[in-house]
Symmetry: C2
Subunit: 258 residues, 2 copies
């Protein structure tokens, strides 16, 4: 990883210029955790190399699986360039996200890890949510994994599949159906390892792109936008969420009239 | 919050005796994040008062919603008793979990925050997963919220409902159906705020109980155990996950013969 200069740091095109200083001394409330917790570190972002971070995520995966591999690849890379407070982050905690959190099959650990990175770096709620939406929508619709470790003889058949969901349970099931491999097989573990590299690269690409160009980002999938045009507001049965609807809800007949 | 004595700390009935020191100097690998990241802090656990933490979670919710309220209530309480490294944790990052991660309706933020606490405190993977399973199974089956802020005139109708799922989307939908309230209404926000207090209390109760008595803990719901007795292994269509099956899968006819 190249060494960053002061100029490069100042010219970083990552998050908004004020986003590095996530918690200032202003707005301190009596009895707030800020009394007890020093959140004064500068969680600045400096442009990373997405290919290098992907390779790092692939390398780190065996130490703590999906969420750990994703989060550690980015925070360790930033720690190498910027030092503290990244170097002191207790990375071990991110092992909890494995298998959709403790094997429960809920949110894919790569997405949980990436969203945690966005949480660490972006204090503006609307920009953070937009970063999450861009990443999660991409994950639902992309054929993954595509990453192939360089220099490794590819003896395993690791095809791509479209998850259609941000949930580990559904994402793995889709991939197993396409590949013919069993859950927890060495093929599935390798698939999740490569997926971690792919999501790490995409996360870094979004951070590098920043949100100045957010209008050019695709946002939510058109199908979800269509459902939420009624179910996101008004008198229809309103729901909370932006997940792909079709992975759990389907119509055997026609959609009820609006 | 009472001041902990050295004796109380040493007699803490929380996690296993070795669990406090989460990362030692042994097993260091070249190129590992441990080269760059100081994980040498002692993330010890000392018994907390679950009622006090619940009240703290309720109080903190408005600062960052569900995941933040849950995580910050426990880490801040430990920071008050034990000091560092708790006091330096960048709590702000946990705001990402709001609304099932950035409003996506995936994993309930209270559960994501609690699992992150388990990740921070428990390095043994099987004990960590058991803590997660105990909490998540309880959440799926309990009628929540039950917490009522003391001294507050209860002008809002906040009934309890059984989520039947660990997903924010389903959990909120069930509650809105029972209460008649709309998503994002002031009633729903108050429900999530009280739920955060309930889950914080349960998380602390599990940490206090420790895992010496794990045999007496209920574990996965019997319905899920029944499904996974075939779908968790063998030649049947095997799945990854421990979530309640019925919230997405139902049979209009009979279950296919095994």
């Amino acid at each position: 990883m190249r060494k960053v200069t002061r100029r490069q740091l100042l010219c970083s095109v990552g998050l908004s210029s004020g986003a590095g200083l996530l918690v200032g001394s202003s707005g301190k409330k009596a009895g707030s955790p800020r009394e007890d917790t020093r959140e004064s570190g500068r969680w600045a972002y400096v442009r990373l190399n997405s290919a290098a971070v992907a390779a790092e995520a692939y390398r780190l995966f065996p130490e703590g699986a999906c969420m750990y591999g994703l989060f550690a690849s980015i925070v360790t890379s930033l720690g190498r360039m910027l030092g503290e407070p990244y170097r002191s982050f207790p990375l071990h905690m991110m092992r909890y996200g494995q298998g959709g959190v403790g094997g429960w099959g809920s949110l894919c650990g790569t997405l949980n890890g990436a969203a945690a990175v966005f949480g660490l770096l972006e204090k503006d709620a609307s920009r953070r949510e937009q970063l999450i939406t861009e990443l999660f929508s991409w994950y639902e619709g992309a054929s993954l994994p595509t990453y192939c470790p360089p220099g490794v003889r590819d003896s395993l058949r690791i095809p791509g599949s479209k998850a259609g969901s941000v949930l580990c349970h559904a994402s793995v099931a889709r991939w197993c159906k396409v590949s013919g491999a069993k859950p927890s097989s060495k093929e599935m573990v390798e698939r999740c390892r490569r997926l971690t590299a792919d999501v790490a690269a995409k996360t870094v690409a979004l951070l590098n792109q920043g949100l100045e160009k957010s209008d050019s980002l695709p946002g939510q999938a058109p199908e979800v936008q269509s459902c939420l045009s009624c179910h996101g507001q008004g008198e229809t049965r309103v729901v909370v969420g932006k997940m792909s609807c079709g992975s759990c809800h389907s119509f055997t007949g026609k959609h009820p009239k609006p």
